[in-house]
């Protein structure tokens, strides 16, 4: 690599992680829109419910992605060792 060449292209985030981050950001942007502030469900602002949903869905999705990545890399090791 020449001295002024930027960091190599191999530093790439996994596609699934990129989609996850994009989904997270999109959800957060939508949730913070003022339109959700006044309407309520069960006496609680829809904004509150969206935040609660974020707290439930984001850990579940993150774990699912992580376990999928782990299964994929294990299969890769098994194939490589055959």
């Amino acid at each position: 690599m020449r001295p002024n060449e930027p960091l190599g292209s191999s530093t790439r985030m996994r596609r699934a992680d990129r989609w996850y981050l994009l989904g997270l950001c999109t959800f957060a942007v939508v949730a913070f829109h003022p339109a959700w502030r006044e309407p309520q469900f069960a006496n609680i602002s829809l904004f509150g419910w969206l935040m609660a949903a974020l707290m439930v869905l984001s850990p579940m999705a993150a774990l699912a992605l992580f376990l999928r990545e782990r299964r994929g890399s294990r299969r890769g090791h098994e194939v490589g060792s055959q």
Binding site: M1, R2, P3, N4, E5, P6, L7, G8, S10, T11, M13, D17, Y20, L21, L24, A28, F32, P34, R37, Q40, A42, N43, I44, S45, F47, G48, M51, A52, L54, M55, V56, S58, P59, M60, A61, A62, L63, F66, R70
Partner: protein, 476 residues
């Protein structure tokens, strides 16, 4: 009172004993003292991470905030913390763990090797964390005052001495062992309390409906601008990936994989505690005590009125556990900022393992003493107070850290610019000069990013070998 006091004294004595036992192992090895020899298993680390983050603010403060500002605004803040974990898992866990040192200051000093970085990062950590410790000490003080009848100042002093003691002598090993117990205790008390409240009310929806009928403000978004609670959300989302006491847990994991899984599991446990507190316990407290002067006391008042002495004693221990499990990590991070980052990293003094341990012990007592002095005149709402303190770290460290790992053009000029710009802008706005209607983090973070971009675009590119080494951190 005697049963509660006895339970709490027994619990605190165990913590000190753990510190003393751990000290035999850790006082000669930096690796053992700071990162528990990098041998912490995934589930243990996950519990410890959850306990580290779930502080007095997550137990006492989350309910106080819900009581005062309602469910939606409270969830906005804590949702930020929850999503901070996957951000940390995806953005920093692997490369940081592969970097294999002790602190975030180590990484930033390596990535942007400049004297300003080596001095400024530890100073920012010490300032922010001391404020964070003050808030935790208040939680311990009011808990002992309300549930044990001990004067606030006495409770403050005694609890501070206990956790300074076991942290200073036991390091990360003691912190981890006690965190596991503390995490389990917190989960048990919050879920147990929520269960009792639900059974009393008949069901969770019935409890929530009754509470929001009696106090409609519980369900409304607090009367503050969007930027107020958006700012809290952004602070915590961007703090978790760079906040030193969580980062040290990444370094303590056995490997990158373990670090990532620990963060994910911790997030699940943390979300459970917060949701149970916000949707069940705090509303029950609001119904039972609608006119509390100190909102942070709602959980304690509930404990006092609803449960017998043994349960109250366990609850006090759980709150102490929440406070201690975070404060111990904060103290350790502060002492590492002094002993490892400043003395060794910035000043360049080489110390033997034992010398460094003694400097660490002294630093812990110094920071703890300063925080204790400050805590005698505590802030009003603890969660808001320490969120503002953590905002300083988010504003200054997030962009240079993430860009340092992921942006191809991140360079020394950009890193230094981002660090200083984020810190300065945040401080100026947070101190109210000029007064801003928008949350300081929402200006400081973009300002830091712009500074990074300008430096990266127009500054000299980093050495190819340096960039190659950074790139290699992404691969196991």
């Amino acid at each position: 009172m005697s049963i509660e006091l006895g339970l709490v004294i027994a619990y605190l004595a165990i913590c000190i004993a753990v510190g003393v036992i751990a000290s035999r192992r850790v006082l000669t090895s930096g690796d053992d003292y700071w990162v528990a020899g990098r041998r912490i298993g995934t589930v243990v680390n996950a519990t410890a991470i959850m306990a580290t983050l779930a502080s007095g603010g997550s137990l006492i403060g989350v309910m106080g905030l819900t009581y005062k500002q309602g469910i939606p605004a409270t969830l906005a803040l804590f949702a930020g913390a929850v999503i901070g974990f996957p951000l940390a898992s995806i953005l920093v866990a692997r490369p940081l763990r592969n970097f294999g040192r002790y602190t975030i200051a180590d990484f930033l000093g390596y990535r942007y090797p400049h004297t300003l970085v080596r001095w400024l990062v530890p100073v920012l950590i010490i300032v922010s964390f001391t404020a964070y410790i003050v808030a935790q000490m208040k939680a311990a003080g009011i808990t002992a005052n309300v549930l044990l009848g001990i004067p606030y100042e006495t409770a403050l002093t005694l609890s501070a001495i206990v956790f300074i003691l076991y942290v200073s002598v036991g390091g990360m090993v003691a912190v981890t062992w006690t965190d596991v117990v503390q995490g389990a205790l917190m989960l048990a008390v919050v879920i147990g309390t929520a269960t009792v409240m639900i059974v009393d009310a008949g069901s969770a929806p019935k409890l929530l409906a009754a509470a929001t009928e009696a106090a409609p403000e519980l369900g409304r978004v607090a009367d503050k601008p969007v930027s107020g609670y958006l700012g809290s959300f952004v602070i915590w989302a961007t703090a978790i990936p760079v906040i030193p006491h969580i980062v040290m847990r990444v370094f303590a994991a056995r490997d990158a994989h373990g670090a990532r899984l620990s963060l994910n599991l911790a997030m699940v446990a943390y979300a459970v505690i917060v949701l149970a507190a916000v949707f069940i316990v705090a509303p029950a407290g609001k119904m039972a005590f609608p006119d509390l002067e100190d909102a942070d006391a709602v959980f304690l008042r509930l404990m006092q009125s609803e449960f017998g002495p043994v349960t109250r004693g366990i609850a006090v221990a759980a709150v102490m556990a929440a406070v201690m499990s975070t404060t111990d990590a904060l103290l350790l991070a502060c002492s590492s900022a002094i002993a490892h980052d400043l003395v060794r990293g910035a000043w360049g003094r080489e110390l033997s393992g034992r010398q460094q341990s003694w400097v660490s012990i002294g630093s812990t007592w110094l920071i703890g003493g300063v925080a204790l002095y400050w805590a005698f005149s505590p802030p009003a709402l603890i969660t808001q107070f320490y969120t503002a303190a953590i905002g300083l770290l988010s504003a200054s460290l997030f962009v240079p850290t993430i860009a340092g790992f992921w942006w191809r053009r991140a360079n020394l000029a950009g890193g230094v610019a981002a660090l200083t710009t984020g810190a300065l802008v945040y401080l100026v706005l947070a101190l109210g000069l000029p007064s801003a209607t928008i949350s300081p983090i929402l200006i400081a973070l973009p300002a830091s990013a712009v500074a990074m971009w300008i430096g990266g675009r127009f500054g000299r590119a980093d050495d190819a070998s340096h960039l190659t080494a950074v790139e290699a951190l992404h691969h196991d």
